[in-house]
């Protein structure tokens, strides 16, 4: 691919993913409203939110480090857009990836949360600092089970670190199913949705890391989160659930899986209370990490003796 192709892919993937993400934001809110027996917002709600935020004033607190505070959301958005570009090209044009792009994706997925921490610390507000420290603990908790889950996917695809190289679908085996559950829970944490939303806990620390943002930077944060909401299910489908096959049924199944994962995020969000920090760390380290190791061991055994369902 030449430079134009790469830039074109990047822009197309980010715009498309943004549209999907904004749609899912609305879908999430509408489904929440339906769960709570309400009517919910109209379909253009996320667009109105973003436009409004862009037209408002940007306030920078006097205690903030201006550059870092303003640039952090933009870097986070750019990183998630890059992930979107890599994932979509792996899904839509199999074989265009490069060896190790899964590792690149995992690294890039770490940038938005790190940038949230960065922005929160740069804003110089006590609430944001508390939120940032909580976000840090959250990353420490969920990264290990998330890696283990992805490792199971890698083992199933014959140790290939390239996206879209999955042979059999890992989900339809014992280790793959365990890994999928782990990955869904880690996705919930990565999206900062409710059982794991300690970093922004609205009623304790007033939106935490985002407390000091207003206007356009807040709009960029909003877009970044919409982007992540579209990217994470896509990653899970690509790694565990067989990606996209270019037949009418394949496309319908792909959309179905996509929507199903987002519905799962919404339902988990609506049926769980927020966990405490120590509960989250215990849950991930003592509960999910051993499960992940067990899944990896099962997958290796299944590979070694060529047993499909392990």
């Amino acid at each position: 691919m030449n430079a134009f192709g790469i830039i074109g892919t990047y822009i197309a993937a980010s715009v498309g993913t943004l549209a999907i993400g904004l749609f899912f934001r609305w879908f999430d809110r509408k489904a929440t409203a339906m769960v709570q027996w309400r009517k919910g917002p109209p379909w253009y709600q996320p667009i109105a939110d973003v436009l409004k935020l862009f037209s408002k004033e940007t306030l920078v607190p006097s205690t903030a480090r201006r550059t870092g505070f303003l640039i952090a959301p933009a870097i986070g958005l750019a990183a998630s857009a890059l992930v979107a570009a890599i994932l979509w090209s792996a899904v839509l044009m199999p074989g265009t990836g490069f060896v190790g792009d899964l590792i690149v994706v995992v690294y890039l997925l770490l940038i938005p949360p790190v940038m949230t921490i960065f922005g929160g610390l740069a804003s110089g507000s006590p609430q944001a600092v508390v939120g940032a420290s909580r976000e840090m603990k959250l990353i420490l908790s969920y990264e290990l089970p998330f890696f283990l889950a992805l490792l199971v996917g890698v083992i199933h695809s014959d140790w290939s670190l390239q996206l879209g190289q999955v042979g059999a679908v890992p989900l339809y085996s014992i280790s793959g199913a365990i890994a999928m559950v782990l990955a869904i829970i880690a996705m919930q944490a990565k999206l900062g949705q409710v059982p794991f939303d300690i970093a922004e806990a609205e009623c304790e620390i007033m939106s935490g890391v985002y407390a000091e943002y207003s206007g356009p930077p807040l709009a960029i944060i909003y877009l970044g989160r919409a982007m992540m909401l579209a990217v994470m299910p896509l990653l899970l489908i690509t790694v565990f659930w067989g990606g996209l096959t270019a037949t009418p049924w394949g496309i319908a199944a792909f959309i179905g899986k996509y929507v199903l994962l987002v519905v799962l995020v919404t339902l988990i969000r609506n049926t769980n209370p927020r966990l405490r920090i120590d509960q989250i760390m215990k849950f991930f380290w003592l509960g999910l990490a051993p499960l992940g190791i067990a899944a990896v061991v099962i997958a290796v055994i299944g590979r070694a003796w060529a047993i499909k369902w392990l």
Partner: protein, 143 residues
Amino acid sequence: MNWALRKSLWVYHVNTGACNNCDIEVLELLTPKYDIERLGMVLVGSPRHADVLAVTGACTRQAQPRLQEAYRQTPKPCVVMAIGVCANAQGIFTEAYHMGAGVDVAIRAVDPDAIIVYVPGCPPKPEAMIAAAVKAMELIKTL
């Protein structure tokens, strides 16, 4: 741009010494019966995210500087919604020893052009608040 602002008013709730009755009525707006999210309004946790300051209570001397600070931290354009007789005209607490200037006077001291919507009642019905929100949207149209 006004369209977007009208369709997505985010509310931050400031209590300046209310008796808690008005606050309960504000929360009523989120319940299935009234469901203010139909109009795109949500409660947010920080004044910097807000477009509407829903002020309840009589604005005591202690609360007045905080209210003014919250108003300064709200990105403009924004609307102040004075909910309840207390917030409109200090109600039964007027001339009490611990009162500040009153919500509208305190806000106008910061910004003479502030948009203030009054919602009378003790406490006002949720319907009245929705009517006030719609009026605020009409006002935004003229900005």
